[in-house]
């Protein structure tokens, strides 16, 4: 199989599983316990937390372990809106992940004022229109760092400083789930109050993520219970997951510059080859402000569902936006927000490259894609 769906999830990097294993086995203790096996687990958890904090330029108390991106997004949006602060409103962008959009819609149904700002045809949010809807009722603004479907990069630092200037008490959240493998992530440089990261997008395990919460930020928990994570996220700690997250983060950071150049090159070569053979293929994302590892491309006249099925049968794994639970490909709300018609969105496919992608397999995949497109037309 040639795996070109790294934006969906990635295999664990070397050493990650080995680092996690003791905490499912010998050091299985509940990190909240009083005995030795628990103390050792707790120690591993806090070591992981410290490593993670350093990795993103934060303090250890600012790291809240969660089950992943969806939970972190929910905690950020609902937690900020439902906290004791009188401001309740949520402002976000039409191309956000469903976790953000649905959490926002949930609050809207509870009577919270919400705004969902559109994007231009390049997938970029218009900063003045975003700032314009932020007012004295706004609790949190959420803007994704790097879009999961298109790879479009938003200028988070520019957004946070504009909002800071306009309404200093408004919190800014960013979902950086897709960005971490390639982009330098420092919470102070970005200026965010809340930041979502999940391990499985850069070679860590599934089910392990974090929400960065800037010191002093009021946040109502989504999961109430035993009061772990300073009351911000209850539930017995997944120590193995936290260790896996920390290990994968360190590995991803030391691999970042290679990732950007090498994986970026693999993506570019794949793209060039496909576009050279299929001149009317349209890349849905502009070259500027695009990640190194995503390619969202439209093949006019070919339904993506059919192409993906044929690619799978030919041993190439790719996707079209996010898949819903039934396994049917949903029409991408991201591409729709960028102004693509329903038909155009149904012709668009996402290829995403990752830490273990190779140039050879990408070239083989390009040949398979080209042959299939020619056959399907």
């Amino acid at each position: 199989m040639i795996y070109l769906d790294h934006a969906a999830t990635t295999p664990v990097r070397p050493g990650v599983w080995e680092a996690m294993r003791p905490y499912a086995d010998d050091v299985f203790g509940n990190s909240s316990g009083v005995h030795e096996v628990s103390r050792r687990a707790k120690n591993a958890l806090e070591e992981a937390r410290e490593k993670i904090a350093v990795a993103i330029g934060a303090g250890p108390r600012e790291i809240v372990f969660t089950s992943g991106g969806t939970e972190s997004d929910n905690l950020a949006i609902k937690g900020a809106s439902l906290s004791s602060v009188p401001r309740r409103g949520v402002v976000t962008v039409a191309t956000e992940h469903e976790a953000v959009l649905e959490a926002t819609d949930f609050l809207r149904r509870l009577g919270v004022p919400t705004s969902v700002v559109g994007v231009d045809r390049h997938g970029q949010v218009d900063l003045p229109s975003l700032v314009d809807v932020v007012d004295a009722n706004t609790a949190v603004v959420s803007v994704m760092h790097l879009n999961n479907e298109t790879g479009v990069i938003q200028d988070i630092a520019g957004i946070t400083s504009a909002i800071e200037e306009h309404e200093p008490d408004v919190l800014v959240h960013s979902d950086a789930v897709q960005a971490f493998s390639s982009a330098e992530i420092d919470v102070d440089d970005l200026g965010v109050d809340l930041l979502t990261i999940t391990a499985h997008k850069f070679g860590g395990p599934k089910g392990a993520g974090l929400l960065y919460v800037r010191e002093g930020t009021a946040l109502e928990p989504v999961l109430h219970g035993g009061g772990q994570e300073l009351g911000r996220r209850s539930g017995t700690h997944d120590v193995a997951g936290a260790v896996g997250l920390a290990t994968a983060m360190e590995a991803a950071i030391s691999d970042r510059s290679r990732f950007r150049s090498q994986v970026g090159q693999i993506r570019d070569d794949f793209e060039k080859r496909v576009l050279a053979a299929i001149p009317d293929a349209v890349v849905n994302t502009p070259e500027t402000a695009r990640s190194s590892h995503h390619l969202n491309v439209r093949f006019p006249g070919v339904r993506n569902e059919t192409l993906l099925m044929r690619l799978d049968r030919a041993g190439v794994a790719a996707s079209a936006g996010s898949a819903c639970q039934s396994g049917a490909s949903e029409v991408s709300h991201v591409l729709e927000a960028m102004g693509l018609s329903l038909g155009e969105a149904r012709e668009s496919v996402r290829f995403s490259f990752g830490w273990n992608s190779t140039a050879d397999e990408a070239m083989d995949a390009a040949t398979i894609v080209i042959d299939l497109i020619e056959e399907l037309r």
């Binding site: 959009l101 569902e305 099925m309 799978d312 639970q325 039934s326 949903e330």
Partner: protein, 349 residues
């Protein structure tokens, strides 16, 4: 042979896939996602309610065949649901399952067959598709009580030559025992009798939610023209209906006619439901050539065939039949063999 199996998640299509696999064919399973919710809710909220797809997926995994869910919600909404609403709105009695077979399942999957890199489409219908002397003949299924040839009566040679119906050779009991022997999780799964997008509700409730605009009030009149009352839309009525008429007349009354032009619903006695013949549209002939003369005609999915004479696009029943309405499908048979089918466009007294 490379076979695309349409898997609904029920026992029949599970066994169809299993039999093709056992026969050594190169099998791919697909489930069609046709409907997301009664009001077509946004995919982000209403999607993925296809719980049956889960059974199909698990069976495919057990058979070790590739499996995909294809999204035909747009085609289904336009070709089946909108038509269902339009038909009721114009006084017809549609059969959405037949429309779905015609405009979605067979049309889309057969047209896409080569794109899916398959040679034949396999379904779990109880009917037999036999190749005799170079042509394909559609026959009733081995299990007469479960026979589904009626809903396939619109298929012609172009389609039948690329369709295989392996469970048509088996009785339902045999299908279940094959499934049980193979340990398929769907072996004991009950059959679904509901119209998929209507669910267990009354279809009127569905129409009221999905298309309130088609409920236009009008008069309820007796067949002699006496005004009996009013109704809130002809959509709520179907020819032959006895219950829920909204008037009490002391003796049984039935809907005998619906006039969409004036939104009038005509009530009458049972004998006024009698129909001597029907005019037909969208006629298809299984083996190509049109057929004239004596046929057995079946006008309900599980109805008994009755003798009739076919002449051009008109069918005259040997004995008057009750409660036929425009929109219904009539399938023609010679014994167990399907000759063709059509849609009722008008009825003659």
């Amino acid at each position: 042979m490379r076979a695309l199996v349409a898997m609904s998640g029920g026992v029949d299509s599970s066994v169809a896939a299993a039999l093709m696999r056992e026969a050594g064919h190169d099998v791919v399973g697909v489930t069609l996602k046709l409907w997301s919710g009664p009001n077509g809710e946004a995919p982000t909220a209403g999607c993925c309610t296809v719980s049956d797809a889960e059974d199909a997926r698990r069976v495919a995994a057990q058979l070790d065949i590739p499996y995909y869910v294809l999204d035909y919600t747009d085609e289904f909404r336009e070709g089946v649901v909108h038509r269902f609403v339009r038909d009721y709105g114009s006084g017809r009695t549609p059969n959405p399952c037949i429309e779905c077979n015609r405009t979605v399942k067979f049309d889309r999957l057969l047209n896409g067959l080569s794109d899916f890199d398959s040679e034949v489409l396999v379904t779990g219908h109880h009917a037999r598709n036999l190749q005799i002397d170079g042509s394909w003949r559609l026959h009733r299924g081995e299990d007469r009580a479960k026979d589904q040839s009626y809903v396939l009566s619109m298929l012609t040679q172009a389609e039948l030559s690329r369709i295989r119906l392996p469970v048509g050779e088996l009785t339902k009991t045999e299908v279940r025992s094959v499934a049980a022997e193979m340990g398929l999780r769907t072996a004991d799964k009950p059959e679904s009798m509901d119209i998929c997008f209507v669910g267990q509700r009354d279809y009127r409730g569905f129409l009221r939610d999905a298309a309130p605009e088609v409920f236009e009030p009008g008069p309820l009149v007796a067949s002699d023209g006496t005004e009996l009352g009013s109704h809130d839309g002809i959509v709520g009525f179907t020819v032959g209906q006895r219950r829920g008429l909204g008037v009490a007349l002391g003796e049984p009354r039935f809907v005998v006619r619906i006039d969409p032009g004036s939104s009038t619903v005509v009530l009458g006695r049972r004998d006024e439901l009698a129909v001597a013949g029907v005019g037909l549209g969208q006629l298809t002939w299984t083996e190509g050539a049109p057929f004239s003369g004596q046929v057995m005609a079946q006008y309900r999915a599980h109805g008994e065939p009755v003798p009739a004479t076919m002449h051009d696009d008109r069918l005259l029943f040997a004995e008057p039949q009750e409660a036929l309405a425009p929109g219904q499908t009539v399938a023609f048979y010679d014994g167990d063999r399907v000759l063709g089918g059509g849609l009722i466009t008008e009825t003659f007294v």
